[in-house]
């Protein structure tokens, strides 16, 4: 009895204790709204659109804001040359194009159900709020409609691999601001895999250290993507389609209305970022010709994830004697040949190439003339040169490759790659069929002939800013054979010189030396006599 009384007392203490010890009740300090407390979200959700409808109950304008963005339309008109760009239209030299492949590609669309041209772009409930606002890191979408799996689903069908069901209620109750994880879920994996496309963006940026990126350093500044790519009304700024080649403005100020791109280095650092050190002024002077990124991103793909540098589609389709697709890996385990895709070259810690860039980009689109006889086709020709006053020297990832085109109609093509049908290249390994289907989906003519053309695509590098101690030193460029060896139209001390003046100069100095030596020799000999 004594014992039980003891326990009763103990129980009472335990019961009362939290009230005293936790003096302040648990309160979230990073938000004013705990979505877990919203009745609208305390229910079971059977699909993505159901969640969206719940979101729209309060966030009335959100979907319509998203409708205006390229994240939704996958279409953007280049303000400079009126080209119709966006994922819906462009052709690259990775997996080439969306068109008939939407089922696979649209997994990264901020919507639900875009598989073909019948998708309703005016539907509000088809906007996917969670893909950007998930904070649990568990949200995923399935190919072929881009729906989150609400029960364990086999993917690809028949593979025996299962994608786990997603607890939509939990995801919905824990929505938050966008993060490197949410943006990265698509942008780190562009081109079909981790780090494939950009070179300066891969999964190492989810929680990088300072060596990989000084701004996103998870134990330091911990920038999210939106810290720079501010998104007023869901319109994320700082796109490559209409890039800022040279920002001549000052650092933005709180409250000040500024129309310039807030994602540039200058929008925070201004025009004279170098403050300390004996040659700060000289370094600041470089900002009229050299992009910040050129010195401050000495290499890309630095986080341990390789990026694709070369993709040769023309070797795709080789099969094993048993007729099975082949997969070859290098000694680090990176795929270097895939029957579905051809030969790859991947690389880490890549030194960029350098080129003048004024922000203007001209794509080679479907229907633009492409001819093998003209050499390499530029997927996106960059504007800029030394003298237009709007260009800076930028670091570039140059993606090179060889991809199918129509030699008769002289145009790039949009092959049908992904799909569980009898024309998809990745299943049937027949280019003619695959391109016919793909071009039909794109409403474009196809001659039936297939050839391969060499292509190059330029990716201005801007992420993975290294700590300042790791920035390039003077000699990296001020030397013969240095980083900027191939950049034309500019005089670089240490690299350049007038060959005639140099020759004449050394001849003159050498001539004087010979002359005085001879004079001295005669004097010496005569003195002896």
């Amino acid at each position: 009895m004594l014992k039980s009384r003891f326990f009763a007392v103990l129980a009472a203490i335990v019961l009362v204790l939290p009230g005293f010890s936790g003096a302040s009740p648990a309160v979230k300090l990073n938000t004013t709204a705990d979505h877990g407390k919203f009745k609208e979200l305390q229910r079971q959700f059977n699909s993505g659109p159901e969640v969206t409808k719940a979101c729209l109950g309060c966030h009335t304008e959100a979907a319509m804001q998203v409708h205006r963005t390229k994240h939704w339309t996958w279409e953007v008109i280049n303000p400079v040359n009126q080209q119709r760009l966006g994922k819906k239209n462009v052709i690259n030299n990775y997996c080439t194009s969306t068109a008939s492949n939407l089922g696979a590609c649209a997994t990264c669309h901020v919507g639900y159900g875009w598989v073909n041209s019948s998708f309703d772009f005016s539907s509000q409930e088809n906007v996917d709020c969670l893909v950007c606002h998930d904070s649990t890191g568990t949200y995923k979408k399935m190919p072929g409609g881009g729906q989150p799996p609400i029960k364990d689903t086999e993917n690809p069908p028949g593979s025996g691999k299962f994608v786990k069901a997603i607890d939509l209620t939990k995801v919905a109750q824990k929505v938050g601001k966008t993060s490197r994880d949410t943006c990265g879920a698509c942008h780190f994996f562009g081109g079909g895999g981790d780090g494939v496309k950009h070179g300066d963006m891969d999964s190492s940026l989810a929680a990088p250290d300072k060596e990989v990126d000084v701004h996103m350093d998870a134990t330091g500044l911990d920038f999210s993507c939106a810290t720079c790519h501010k998104a007023p009304a869901h319109e994320v700024v700082g796109s490559r389609y209409a890039a800022t080649g040279k920002d001549t403005g000052d650092a933005h100020m709180r409250g000040q209305q500024s129309k310039s791109n807030p994602a540039t280095c200058q929008s925070c650092h201004g025009q004279s970022p170098h403050k300390a050190g004996s040659h700060a002024a000289k370094l600041n002077h470089h900002s009229d010709k050299v992009a910040c990124q050129t010195c401050h991103i000495p290499e890309f793909a630095r986080g341990g994830v390789p990026t694709k540098m070369h993709w040769d589609w023309s070797t795709a389709g080789k099969l094993s004697p048993e007729g099975k697709p082949i997969l070859k890996k290098d000694d680090k385990g990176h795929i270097v040949y895939d029957s579905r895709k051809g030969d790859f070259v991947v690389a880490e810690n890549v030194k960029p190439e350098y080129a003048w860039f004024n922000g203007e980009v001209t794509y080679t689109l479907l229907g633009d003339t492409v001819d093998k006889a003209n050499g390499v086709t530029l997927i996106n020709a960059l504007g800029g040169n030394a003298s237009d006053g709007r260009s800076l020297i930028w670091p570039m990832k140059v993606m090179r490759g060889s991809q199918p085109y129509d030699p008769e109609n002289k145009t790039l093509v949009k092959p049908h790659l992904a799909g569980n049908d009898d024309t998809a290249y990745w299943k049937n390994f027949n280019w003619e069929k695959a391109i016919e289907t793909g071009m039909k989906a794109a409403n474009a003519p196809f001659s039936g002939k297939v050839d391969f053309v060499k292509t190059e695509m330029y990716w201005p590098i801007t992420h993975m800013v290294a700590p300042k101690e790791k920035a390039l030193d003077c000699e990296s460029c001020h030397a013969k054979g240095g980083r900027l060896d191939q950049v034309k139209g500019i005089y670089i001390p240490g690299r350049d010189g007038n060959p005639l003046v140099n020759t004449l100069g050394w001849l003159a100095a050498g001539g004087v030396l010979c002359g005085v030596s001879l004079h001295g020799l005669i004097r010496f000999l005569r003195r002896k006599q």
Binding site: S4, F7, V14, L17, G137, S203, D217, V305
Partner: protein
């Protein structure tokens, strides 16, 4: 008498559970990720012969392991390496320890647990070491 004893024990245990649940802390897997990589992995890679990816164990294995709280085969405890004292001792060389110097120990432990459970072999997104 014996019965009431058991009853009391059950009540007490129940209340203990309730009290922990009542003040349930909403674990931050991202903070756990940073601490795990910057402190656990960094030290393991440098001194303990290699890093341990969350995906090397299943959720239940991680659960059991963390519950047992035996680090280095029982030589010391996990909690020790999450403690404020430990963080203070390494914070001059470790930015994660410095950044999270004042995070309550229980919370940080829960954060790490959330990260490894999420990244476990059978977790929501298995995390290997890249």
């Amino acid at each position: 008498m014996e019965k009431s004893h058991i009853f009391a024990t059950v009540i007490t245990t129940g209340l203990l559970c309730v009290s922990t649940l009542a003040s349930a802390y909403d674990a931050d897997w991202k903070r756990g990720r940073v601490y795990y990589r910057s402190v656990c992995t960094a030290c393991h890679a440098a001194q303990a012969g290699g890093s341990i990816a969350p995906s090397t164990m299943s959720k239940s294995q991680w659960g059991t392991y963390l519950q047992a709280d035996k680090h280095a085969k029982g030589k010391d405890s996990m909690k020790q390496y999450v403690s404020k004292a430990y963080r203070a001792s390494i914070k001059s060389q470790n930015k994660a320890a410095e950044k999270f110097a004042d995070v309550p120990e229980d919370e940080l432990f829960e954060d790490i647990k959330a990260f490894v459970i999420k990244g476990a072999k059978d977790g929501d997104s298995p995390a290997s070491c890249s």
